[in-house]
Amino acid sequence: MEQWHSHLLRERVDQSSLLIQGNRACALGALDAGVTFFAGYPITPSSEIMEAMAEELPRIGGVFVQMEDEIASICACIGASLTGKLAMTATSGPGFSLMQEALGYAIIIEAPLVVVNVMRVGPSTGRPTAPSQGDVMQARWGTHGDHPAIVLAASNVADMYRLTMAAVRFAQRFRTPVTVLADQLVGQMRESFSPELVGRYRLTSGDFDFTPGYIRPELAPEVRPPHILGLDEHPHVTGLFHDETGFPTNDPDESNEFLRELYNKVAHHREELCLYDIKNEGKGRVCIVAYGSCARTARAVWRLAEYEGLPVEVLHLYTLFPLPVEIIQQVARRVEFILIPELNLGQYAHEVRKMAEQWTTVIGMGKIDGTLFTPRELLDRIAELTGKYESV
């Protein structure tokens, strides 16, 4: 950690704790994870990520380019990724929409890449300065065709740091683009956190190591070894369906195998990829399943509910896709209600309902006015649900 002399890094002069904006924490996480290439285009509320990278990357021998639009930004990242560089871009809804075709290209050519989407209220220009979770299903299915997707959701400044690191690691290990969803609130708020403590933080799902400067991860077993431009080879790369030589194929069997392998390399590693945290495990009649800013409210409810005598579990999801099927089903088997507060009209609630409705009642709570849920709103809904249950 020598040479911490720039503006961004001056914020971490004392490493035990720093007060930092979410977007800047994201940039810091990317740098600590070894990102050396960033191409982007300004958009509220994500621009601070790009600004921080513009300041840091040139002085550490990395590359920062401000491109002419978001399409060019992700394409430049793909180009850099093909030479073996760790590349990242950041944007918000409208830019994320523009990136979708190229995101599919990165998936099919298996180029590791991190895309951060600091969500604002949409569709269209929407409300650029208010938080939303309206891009959840776009992050899963935005590009055309069947494809794998790894989508993480940040709920606070520390998450912006460590989930960006996790995204870099997943992107490398599975050789696929990884999307980090944040929102205007998480991206632009300031909180204190300690990168060193975050490094030791463990999530319930496993032993994910967030220590800054971790070593380059090995490839997952299903992932084909990459062909990197210039590393004593000159591969052919194409967005057409291709065989193991990299050249196009129209053969039905090869096409089938190609796409299934692409899909399954993520699907088969759900256990490793699904990061979550569970509070009051096994003690609730109601489980709040939450992610992103809504998880902030949910975690507050978890403490308040105990005080008010309401039996509440909280499942905080850091990984939205691949779907955390196992943990959702475990919870579904033991609670009477699953409550999903979201800053959208129930995008993720539909996903959870598909997994859980045979065991429990899944209730979505949607909010699209650009404000967060208050703990009171959730507590009242829980009281209503459990009360209703008593009177039946």
Binding site: F37, V63, M67, E68, A72, L82, V237, F247
Partner: protein
Amino acid sequence: MALEIERFLHTERLPHIWCPGCGLGIITAAFLRVVIDLGLERDKTVVVSGIGCSSRAANYLDLGTVHSIHGRALAVATGVKMARPDFTVIVFTGDGDGAAIGGNHLIHACRRNIDLTCILFNNSTYGMTGGQTSPTMAVGDRSTTARYGQVEPPFDLCRLAEAAGASFVARGTAAQARLIERLIKEGIQHQGFSFIEAVVPCPTEYGRRNALKSPLEMLDNERTRSVTQAQAVKLTQEELAGKIVTGVLHLDEDAPEFQQAYAASARAQAERAGARVQIDMTQKLPVGEQK
């Protein structure tokens, strides 16, 4: 030479998908002769292409080849070049790929003057999708989407590239294989953004709808319409109509190249930062620096 360029072709991928009489092969062969002539290293030469007939050339070249998405070859190539400045990066694109859907990336690559060589195969039509109107199609020409004749004026891509800041701009035709070879060679050698428009015949989708029945007729037409820049300056505006001005049309050897300018700026900043660290050390963090 014919056999020699085979060293740089995936011959097992042949025959190619291009129609009989297509001009793309002439330009691709000229490019490979330049690769041999300049002794470019196979592992450090990258061809990035978009989508379309011309971009399919990347499938046959035994070099580092990136067949990217429609219109975005220049953006991908910008990433490759910035990540690996030691690479020779060539972009293969077409008039639809490079000037319509990718027009924004074209002007910005020109403006940056990044050291890429962009060979734009201009056949004035969308060949792969069945002969639709392209932004370089002349007024009055017919296509499957201009059944009664094109009414929009076309781009002059070389003037566009020059105005946008490209430091090497040239044009040749498939009828002049030697000329196009020289232009590609000079373009690759040039430090900065090199834009080379290669006018190529598409007898299948363009010629047969525009009274140019055979490939030979199309090549002849290109040859007779071609004038050098020296000849062009003596012609009136009316006489120039329909002519193809060939050769190096613009050259600025002093324009700063983007990657080098970026590296120089980064180096200077690192030195300044180094100096500031020293000051910080001696003064034990001035108060102003602690916030």
